[in-house]
Symmetry: C2
Subunit: 421 residues, 2 copies
Amino acid sequence: MNPAVDLREKVNEANLKTVEIMMSGTPIWIGDSPAIEVVPGMTKNTILHAGPPIEWERMCNPMRQAVLGAVVFEGLAKDLDEAKEAVEAGEIILSPCHHHQAVGGMTGITSASMPVHIVKNEKYGNLAYCLPHEGSSFKALGWGTNDQETLDHIRWMRDELSPVLDQGVKALGGININDIISRAIQMGDEAHSRCTAGTLLITRKLASALVLTDTPRDMLARVFEFLQRTDIFALHLFMAAGRAMVEPAKNIKYSTVVTTLCRNGVEFGIRVSALGDQWFVGPAGKIKTSYFSPQWNDDVAGRDIGDSSIMEVIGLGGLIHAAAPAHEHVLKGTFQSAIQKTEEAYTISVTEHPSWLLPTLDFRGVPFGIDIRKVVQTGNTPLIDTATPHINGGFIGSGEARAPMEAFEAALRAFGAMISG
Amino acid sequence: MNPAVDLREKVNEANLKTVEIMMSGTPIWIGDSPAIEVVPGMTKNTILHAGPPIEWERMCNPMRQAVLGAVVFEGLAKDLDEAKEAVEAGEIILSPCHHHQAVGGMTGITSASMPVHIVKNEKYGNLAYCLPHEGSSFKALGWGTNDQETLDHIRWMRDELSPVLDQGVKALGGININDIISRAIQMGDEAHSRCTAGTLLITRKLASALVLTDTPRDMLARVFEFLQRTDIFALHLFMAAGRAMVEPAKNIKYSTVVTTLCRNGVEFGIRVSALGDQWFVGPAGKIKTSYFSPQWNDDVAGRDIGDSSIMEVIGLGGLIHAAAPAHEHVLKGTFQSAIQKTEEAYTISVTEHPSWLLPTLDFRGVPFGIDIRKVVQTGNTPLIDTATPHINGGFIGSGEARAPMEAFEAALRAFGAMISG
């Protein structure tokens, strides 16, 4: 047999196996908890960040600011200056969320006492974690602000939001995120930049359970008000679900399927099934942004950042604008451009998801499982939906960016080297 | 000046004025109340029904059954047999919902002590009413069942659901239904057969307000559970909103815009602005149905019934399948057929709504204001989304039906007669 054909078939087979493992995952939101109690490897002086590994010195400004905010939040320093000294003295361990079965939005900064959603892949038994979304206001550690207001809000999330959500989710016996995604993408969500339907579906489920808990009524009211003004709330559950779905699909021999896409604001990192935990990086993309105010423009925009691109790993977000013409409209596109972007995504994907279906494409399954061979062959790198941070911190727009070809080429070279010896 | 041209311009102008009045309406859900306390002309022995006027003898079976159920419900008879005697003895006043500023789903049966949503058109000051949706189970007075289970459920709605909703809505200072519709049709609702997004948006709003009321927690839980399993809940609020929007648009001289479309299961009735409260009727359509179970088929299907076609009067439902490809899929259509149906609706409409926008048509406004001239000219009668009742009562499918051309032709003849003298 022709060895090239033989190899191609082995890879195709391995890729089908990989996407089957991902798609058969059953991500269930089982509760919320302080990170230190559940996240593997978390310590009191560990701070997790988004994207591939990066040292303090090379971090972008929003991420640095968020790190300092977290150091103060944890009481490891009395103010931001002292926090900087502590970081520079090496007293703080900085580590990617992805090395801890976790994901983080934008800067992704997550520290010991911060709350996380816990999503369990019931089929495979593994867990994944993500800080709840901080909300759509200008300020958030995720966007790189670190003032009193930012930290007070995280404190509220820790002391009230997450404990209340935890009660509700446990009372419901968990919430199947797979089902929520399936319904949400039939209701205008692309499940990354737009998660309104997902948030509504989760809120309605929580309502009947939460009113029966012993949570004081004023606490319930504040939680529901937060959900009322946070259409994007579901994203961080979707992200944890994605993280939970990809973990069992790692290290499949011969598989060229992407298991991670993430950005730290400086570099875009990818991981590929057969290549296990190796990172392949390229520059974080410039974001094509629709700014929320004319006071902002590309000059003050940070680069593509966050672990939220786990959504594109599981066939959503930038891969399915066909599901979310209202989001394409925000990006100044048309219905046709939304369809076109989704058609492009099929050219780099292994298969179509059997139950995540696109109404505008006559219920075709979403493009699922990015194959690095196809990315390099077609020249189509995945389109990533993203939020745009201000270079000095803050949330200034919604946009899209391209994953860098360099990372896919590097991964494909490494794959070639591995199989040839 | 050519008198024909002159008339055409007068009509065009009147039609623009009519749709402007409709579209500028501001329907606010202000509370719920027993019908007897708010519905004009309601008495203890009055029973409202859907559609144009019809006598007991000519009513279809589901409507008759629902009438008898209501008579028992009101304590006007001790059982269904006695109820029938009372009706045949003329002790019960049967009157169309539409003659009482009200609308009713399917059979539309609404009696004195039953609860109604109250929607106020704040801009024009008028009110409209609709019984809350009874839910998506097989049984309901709306579907023509009248057993103990059916009546017990209405009792629960009267004693628990509506009083709780009333508290929530009042605590919120009302809910703007115009805004809910605007968002819902960007989330896959056509706002008639599919109202999932609308229901979710309303539920989320109610949650934060309701937990702060003194309603017992178990009552709140039952209400939220009902909303959880009743995706169609918002429809009856949308219907009351539609009813509130059309009332001030009646009696505009020279206007050929439709102000009512409704069905009693035997006849389809329309009213036209310039022609005030005159009814024009044709036969109620056969429904092209997707049945929920193979045990049902066209042989056991009732005909098109209900006041819910007020949604088509305000440019929604069957006129905007482009908004709801998931609903078109239920009807076994394709995305292209959904678009085509909406394109057709533009051919019979006066204008496009400025803030009810269709993402899949690049945010074109929904076709708004059906012009009877255009219906007769094009031969396109409005497509009506509808549920299908079993001929013996019960909810057996979702479908679509055509309004009958006869009604439009009769109205146009009457219009011609009126203006010519």
